[in-house]
């Protein structure tokens, strides 16, 4: 893998299929990163000239996305998924074992440039972790034997395409099918329905179905499509949000693996309804292994006349779909950040209003929907609103796909009618020993045992699909710490409360976790959390303090049991702070250390 061509040759090759619009910047960078293990300075110059962008802005994009680097990573660049579910499966021990075996330190490439090992946010393999990425490719079900073998493969410079195929196997693990996953829908039948009923007919059906966005926010899909359809515009766009970054969520991964046609059909249906000719699937970088199969699926649809010109013979119905890769940024799951990222920029959430339905991609009306939402739209177009509303509860019609992981016997994807109780789910997945369930991911809520009879629904416990089980033996503060670190890492840095508050909050959780916290610190956490919730610019910032605020209310004991006895404890360790000076003076003896209060 050292024998790569000069950057100018690769660049010329890339240029033929990526194009030269500035909005392609991220797509260039993503490909260059995986070819060269970093973005060489020469590539930045070439891109600046080709795309007409300032070099500093290109660096700004490189430094924004976790998977892009301006200094070389190892030839084998390994990133351990750092989700709480990976932790629970022993990822940290395995990561340290691999570092030991390879003689490499976290975050620093080895001296010979062979390998680097680091951590990354949840890679969406919670049902088959611990997981890692090696040069962007997903490796699942890590254990000691696999770590030993991986160390050997690296030391023998075996290219990843010669590694055992089972290392890269990703199972669907579909454990329960309901409305959507049992319906037999043949390819093209939703577009046939569009042909029969017309755009307005489909919109009416969607409206009656009550379908709400499946990403978590729950905005009514028919309204989104209608606003976009009615907006004055030169162009309209359809975007599928497959930046499935919420820790503990992996259902979109399954849908894109086994139901890609239904998702693409939903996007095409939407295009027909709103009048769009171009769509994008924004695929998170962690799902690189899905890229080629998805491209193949798109090509198959083009061949079948389901994408391209005059789709299904409908005159003027032109639509195609491109896949854009993300590069390691949770914030890009927020729809306006996603659009910025699609435009090749740093994923900073836009101001609202205007909303994407009137001013989205290229400032044109844009529908951004979740993978599952498009799938549901396809099925509703085929089977009708009544079929859909026959299932569900109250304001929450239809079914919901849940990604279930953590302490349960049968992790995987489950489809349930809305209204199902937490208790029922725990019974089905073998998680009866739960002390709590984290629903809706890091930004969601921690559901204690006393609330297990509550249900999954927009009007009760809303979720984008993440469902992590914690058994009686778990320390819930480990989860809080993992989430607090996650949010500090994933804050885009645009607004003060999230940028600064997120890190202050993380530091306070660390302080309490390490046994140095006091009541005063808990009060600080509440105040900082409330400020972030109330004043942040976007949904990430407003929900980032949730795991702290929620557990402070519901599980005060996990904090109280770790508090030290004093009313005030400094944020730093005086002894450690003076260590360097003492060493320099040759005074590092026991007598010069401060007594630590018991």
């Amino acid at each position: 893998m050292n024998s790569v061509e000069p950057i100018s040759d690769f660049f010329a090759e890339l240029n033929t299929f990526v194009g030269d619009r500035p909005e392609q910047l991220l797509q260039y960078l993503y490909r260059i990163q995986y070819r060269y293990s970093f973005i060489p300075p020469q590539a930045v110059q070439l891109l600046a000239a080709r795309l007409g962008l300032p070099a500093s802005a290109i660096h700004g994009v490189i430094e924004f996305y976790s998977f892009l680097h301006d200094t070389a990573r190892g030839d084998f660049d390994i990133l351990f998924s750092d989700s709480i579910t990976d932790h629970m499966l022993g990822s940290r021990t395995l990561a340290h074992r691999l570092c030991e075996r390879l003689g490499v330190r976290f975050g620093e490439p080895r001296g010979d440039g062979r390998v680097s090992v680091d951590l990354t946010s949840c890679t969406g393999m919670c049902d088959q972790g611990p997981a890692m990425l090696v040069n962007g490719w997903t490796v699942t079900r890590l254990d000691e034997a696999r770590i030993e073998e991986i160390a050997r493969l690296i030391e023998t410079t075996t290219p990843t395409d010669e590694w055992p195929a089972e290392f890269f196997a990703v199972e669907d693990n579909i454990r329960r099918r309901d409305l959507l996953l049992t319906s037999a829908t043949s390819i093209g039948s939703a577009l046939q329905a569009l042909l029969n009923k017309g755009g307005q007919g489909i919109l009416d059906e969607l409206d009656r179905s009550g379908l709400r966005g499946r990403g978590g926010a729950g905005y009514k899909t028919a309204n989104k499509w209608r606003f976009c359809r009615e907006a004055e515009a030169q162009q309209r766009y359809v975007v599928c949000n497959a930046d499935e970054g919420e820790p503990g969520t992996f259902k979109d991964r399954v849908l894109l693996n086994s139901y890609a046609d239904d998702v693409f059909e939903g996007m095409t249906l939407c295009a027909g309804v709103i009048g769009a000719s171009q769509g994008y699937l924004y695929l998170r970088g962690e799902y690189r292994y899905l890229l080629d199969p998805l491209q193949t699926a798109l090509e198959r649809r083009r061949q079948a006349g389901l994408l391209g010109h005059n789709i299904l013979g409908m005159d003027g119905f032109d639509f195609d779909i491109d896949i854009h890769m993300g590069a390691g940024a949770y914030i890009c799951g927020e729809e306006s950040s996603l659009i910025e990222s699609l435009e090749g920029k740093r994923g900073i959430p836009r101001k609202r209003p205007p909303f994407p339905v009137t001013s989205g991609f290229r400032l044109q009306p844009t529908v951004v929907n979740n993978v599952e939402t498009f799938l549901a739209a396809t099925e509703i177009a085929v089977h009708g609103a009544d079929w859909f509303t026959a299932v569900g509860s109250g304001q929450s019609t239809g079914s919901k796909l849940l990604s279930i992981s953590g302490d349960c016997a049968r992790p995987g994807m489950y489809e349930y009618p809305f209204g199902v109780s937490i208790r029922q789910i725990l019974q089905d997945c073998g998680g009866e020993d739960a002390q709590a369930v984290q629903v809706a991911g890091a930004a969601g809520s921690t559901v204690p045992q006393r609330d297990f009879d509550r249900s999954i629904a927009f009007e009760d416990i809303a979720t984008g699909g993440s469902f992590i089980v914690f058994n009686q033996a778990r320390e819930l503060l480990d989860m809080v710490q993992n989430f607090a670190r996650f949010f500090a890492h994933e804050s885009c840095g645009f607004c003060t409360p999230c940028r600064v508050g997120g890190t202050l909050l993380k530091d306070l959780v660390d302080k309490v976790h390490s046994g140095h916290g006091t009541e005063y610190d808990l009060q600080q956490m509440r105040e900082i959390g409330a400020l972030m919730r109330d004043t942040s610019h976007c949904g990430l910032g407003t929900t980032a303090p949730n795991p702290v605020l929620d557990t402070l209310d519901k599980f005060p004991a996990i904090y109280q049991s770790r508090l030290c006895d004093s009313g005030y404890e400094p944020a730093f360790d005086l002894d450690a702070a003076l260590q360097e000076a003492k060493q320099m003076r040759g005074q590092d003896q026991d007598t010069t250390h401060f007594e630590t209060e018991p």
Binding site: A55, S56, F64, S491, C495, T496, V500, H537
Partner: protein
Amino acid sequence: MSENKAFTLDTRVIEFQDGDTIMDAALRAGAYIPHLCHNPEFEPHGSCRVCVVGVNGRRISACTQPATEGLEVDNSSEAINKERRALLQMLFVEGNHVCPGCEKSGACQLQAVAYYTGMLDPHFTHFFPKRSVDASHAETAIDFNRCILCELCVRASRDVDRKNVFSISGRGINSHLVINSPSGKLGDSDFSATDKAAQVCPVGAILHKHTGYDRPIGERLYDRQPISVVGDVAEHEGKDHG
């Protein structure tokens, strides 16, 4: 068509025109809403959040929120003031803002807004980031220790000077201002001291060289009257209030 539209800011009635934000209308009426990243010459940004106001129990940033008829805007309750103070304290601990040793002291908008909100200490744990000073340009120095990421210089250089000298790099707490030049130094860029970008910094991050301390303490911009009366630093740029 829009002559009689109005909302209330605390007890005051503020008239507005179509397209106004709450901040636009308040500024025109001479009503003060504390702010740092906003400058009426540029597109609203909404990043510092200091202009947070209360509307129907929710918090919104006045600089980005369109004004609407009949809104009742809370701009001065103790709850709002406390939140603004906490946001300012966060900005203080994030960078290295050593007012006694800063030549901008007394004419700094961050300091002046902090006084206005009654901030008495930085409260939170200091980050003490390691940041540099760039003195490579003949007429202008940049002290990154004091940058609050308002992006006014970014916007001015991009939208007015058409030079794109500044941009933001990094993510989260590692976000930082960078300069578009081969060496990353200001002296190596197209920047000129007469650029708009040189006249908009609300703090002591972008400094005119050779003029520091020209104006003695006691006679500086905010030494005698609060920012609610004096207005923004940028309004006084070039008028020798340093």
